[in-house]
């Protein structure tokens, strides 16, 4: 049985999210926001990344988990966690690197082997450059980021592979209301090549973008929503299109202390298609739901 979100329920989710934003906006007006400090925008949009690159000399340790849940049949749960060190060596550049850990719990899913495993799955590095900075007269900020990643465990199926990915992304955000309401936008291009133990080589690429809206409802709490459109191709030059999907969901950011915060997000696939398969949703290249939970400590 295919669990689809009916159009009526979909509209309910959107209306609910908009309602929450209006309620939160009213709550925020009740609090004096003039005393709030500026906020770092990098993590306030959920899966969408803001333009922030931190402060010169700042260092941060982060545990960032992304879970993916639900395929067309059987049960599917996979997570990938980044154990990440990031630092900002100048007022324009941020560098991050770390190890990847993964878990897979898969049973009865078409085209995937049953598997229950926990593994150290690879490593990554990220370089971020602030190309356009926000000022009191310019509300837009833009950061360019490159993230090479090497994996020894396949992200989707969990089998042993050699996988090389090179994510390039533009992170932009707009301050709509001073220190209060922000819009975030990402543009993503993510080519990768995978060599299986059997000697096969698979090439693919993901391309897409997102839009997010986040409202600061207290000096240390930001809530919002985001929507992602993602396309999958079996070629790095984006020619062999295989399917696409739209993911939608709420986001939360909480600053516990000036040096410690968390961010959480949940995305549900609300629309998708697989080329050559007339079913609703794309559950081959993407998942029904995904979640993100990130904790960070600055020092």
């Amino acid at each position: 049985m295919r669990a689809r979100i009916r159009p009526g329920r979909r509209h309910g989710i959107v209306l609910g999210a908009v309602g929450c934003l209006f309620w939160a906006s009213a709550a925020a007006r009740a609090e004096d926001a003039s005393s709030w400090r500026d906020i770092e925008t990098k993590y306030i949009f959920g899966f969408t990344t803001g333009s922030g690159i931190g402060l010169e000399g700042e260092k941060e340790f982060t545990v960032d988990s992304i879970g993916r849940f639900g395929k067309r049949d059987g049960h599917y749960a996979a997570t990938e966690t980044k154990y990440e060190f990031e630092f900002t060596p100048s007022q324009f550049i941020q560098i991050e690197f770390g190890a990847l850990g993964s878990t897979h719990n898969i049973g009865g899913v078409s085209d995937l082997d049953d598997r229950r495993q926990v593994a150290l799955s690879g490593g990554f590095a990220e370089f971020r450059y602030l190309a356009l900075e926000r000022t009191s007269s310019n509300p837009l900020a833009v950061t360019l980021a490159f993230e090479p990643t090497v994996r020894r465990i396949d992200e989707t199926g969990g089998e042993r592979v050699h996988n090389y990915e090179f994510e390039t992304i533009i992170n932009a955000d707009l301050e709509l209301l001073k220190n209060r309401l922000f819009a975030g936008f990402n543009l993503l291009y993510e080519p990768e090549i995978t060599q299986t133990l059997a000697g096969d080589t698979e090439r693919e690429a993901k391309f897409g973008g997102s839009a997010a809206l986040s409202l600061r409802i207290a000096s240390n709490v930001v809530i919002g929503g985001e929507v992602w459109y993602l396309r999958h191709c079996d070629a790095a030059n984006l020619t062999a299109f295989t399917g696409d999907a739209v993911m939608l969901g709420p986001t939360l950011y909480v600053q516990f202390t000036p040096k410690m915060f968390m961010t959480a997000a949940w995305n549900t696939q609300v629309w998708g298609r697989e080329i050559g398969n007339p079913v609703s949703l794309n559950l081959v290249e993407f998942q029904r739901n995904r979640a993100r939970l990130k904790f960070a400590v600055e020092f």
């Binding site: 400090r37 500026d38 906020i39 770092e40 690159i53 931190g54 402060l55 010169e56 000399g57 700042e58 900002t88 060596p89 100048s90 007022q91 324009f92 550049i93 370089f127 450059y129 900075e133 926000r134 000022t135 009191s136 007269s137 310019n138 360019l144 490159f146 090479p148 090389y164 090179f166 390039t168 080519p191 090549i193 080589t201 090439r203 790095a236 030059n237 000036p258």
Partner: protein, 114 residues
Amino acid sequence: MAITMRKLILAALCAIAVLPISPSQAQQATEVQVTYSKGQFQPNELRAPADKPITVRVKNLDAKAMEFESKSLRVEKVVAANSEGVINVRALKPGRYEFYDDFNEKARGALVVQ
């Protein structure tokens, strides 16, 4: 594909190599001074010219450490009790850049760039 990936990585590294990554050293920096005393910045509004690097000299006269921090200036520096800290800031566009003591919620100030 492997060649394409290598080209992409090479292009990215070349792009990073030519980006400006630190405050311009070619121009003479404008120095501004602020004193931190009794948990307050004095003065709490500093002024500096636009499009020139800025050096902020912070004198902490209090008996405990403070942290000069600003999200919009993208700097932070811990200044020990009864000592001085120097913070180099890139050339800035005109605007108002707030700063504060990260250890003291009430201590705030701003750098006005014109």
